[in-house]
Amino acid sequence: MFVYLWGYLYSNFFRFWLKWILRLLTGKCELQRICGGSKEGSQRTLKIEYSLGLSKSKVLRHAIHVGEAEVEKCVMGIMKEKKINIQKDTGFKTSLQVCLLQISGYKKLYLEVENLRKVPYDSDNEEHEKQLIQLWNLLIPHENLKARITKQWCDIGFQGDDPKTDFRGMGMLGLVNLVYFSKHYTSEARQILSRSNHPKLGYSYAIVGINLTEMAYSLLKSGALKSHLYNLVPGLPQMEHFHQFYCYLVYEFDKFWFEEEPESIMHFNHYREKFHEKVKGLLLDYNQVLTLQNIKKP
């Protein structure tokens, strides 16, 4: 109760006066103090995003919703609104611009990922079919598929003889993720696939992959991936960066699974949740960048 009351008073009352006093003392507005005082990357951009969102000025509040093309104009608008002298604080304009690009880029990336997720796998679509066959050829190059509908699909961890029904709510995003990992980290993918056939600790490679697509997607959607992406990309994050994060999850989940030694595959959801919590915990760190280490980037 006290915490709520304090939170209410702080954001509605004290915060304003505190900012006013600091402005008098330093001669700088909050945005300038953040840009000057915090390290570039997620530390700075998250604070800027928070500050803009709480602002009483419409121009500032609107800044977290502008698209890439309007960023420059928006920065000029903010400097005018806050009466910031460009000569006195030379780095400010560029810093704020980078922050706004990152903020708008994250939103755009989410929309792109969401659009791909919404495309259901369609076996009448040649492009979809091509990618599915490509996945097979990348993982098991020395063995040909005997037919399009065959039990062989179970060898790479689909549920039955036709993978099309396994993509479900992840749609083409699930397949594109699987293909990306196999294409860019081919030897790792084959190694993980062979480990996933372990007689006791084994799991179904492809559908666990689709489950991890869901994890990457929900972390992006909830905003939890901001710390990672703001640190990784000093501008607009691309689809590529989402796929890279997926690769990190697949690689790390496999390691995690074998370290935990679960009783059987039936306990998958328990360990999936445990892994999810672990990743969420890592992403709380301002300085976090979650990329594949020990193996070279494509």
Partner: protein
């Protein structure tokens, strides 16, 4: 009567707990049904590795619903979940005619299980929102459901996606929870 004794009385009549087992082939729609029952978002579903469990309050019952993955590879694990089951719900993809035989076989094997003997069974003829879905009557005939005599059973057409028919099925479940034949 004092306040304390009223409270005690309320506490002494808790919801009856019911164990419900949700089985069926992969892609039958078990997880979608489970989420529909729990009024959760059904747009991000992925194939079930292992199982999901959720508790739902309904008509004075606490339904503990176990949704077990339907992939062939993990069907041998189904039997680990048979014990103390009050009602079996078997889900069928009514549009996947190519697998009617397979699903019929799995159901027949379940009905032969000793640990499930006498347990009431509800068969959901799911995916009725699809144009190609077979009607419940056709499935009942194809699966020879009328030959089931050792327990009470019901077939209910539904769409876990739209929610149509799901509540009707669950009403039947609540009515027949205690009808296990010894």
């Amino acid at each position: 009567m004092g306040l304390l004794s009223i409270l005690r009385k309320l506490k002494s009549a808790p919801d009856q707990e019911v164990r419900i087992l949700l089985l069926g082939l992969d892609n039958a729609g078990k997880t979608t049904l489970l989420k529909q029952l729990a009024s959760e978002d059904i747009s991000h579903i992925t194939p079930t590795q292992g199982f999901n469990i959720k508790s739902v309050q309904s008509q004075g019952f606490k339904l503990n619903v176990w949704d077990i993955g339907g992939q062939r590879k993990i069907r041998p694990y189904w039997r680990n979940y048979f014990e103390n089951t009050d009602v079996l719900i078997y889900v069928i993809d009514s549009a996947d005619r190519k697998r009617f035989e397979e699903t019929g076989q799995e159901l027949a094997e379940l009905l032969d299980e000793e640990k499930l003997s006498g347990v009431p069974v509800l068969i959901f003829a799911n995916k009725q929102d699809l144009l190609t879905a077979a009607p419940a009557s056709e499935i009942a005939e194809g699966l020879n459901l009328h030959t089931i005599r050792d327990r009470i059973w019901q077939i209910q057409s539904c769409s876990a996606l739209t929610g149509e028919g799901v509540q009707d099925g669950m009403n039947w479940v609540c009515k027949n929870v205690n009808a296990k034949k010894k």
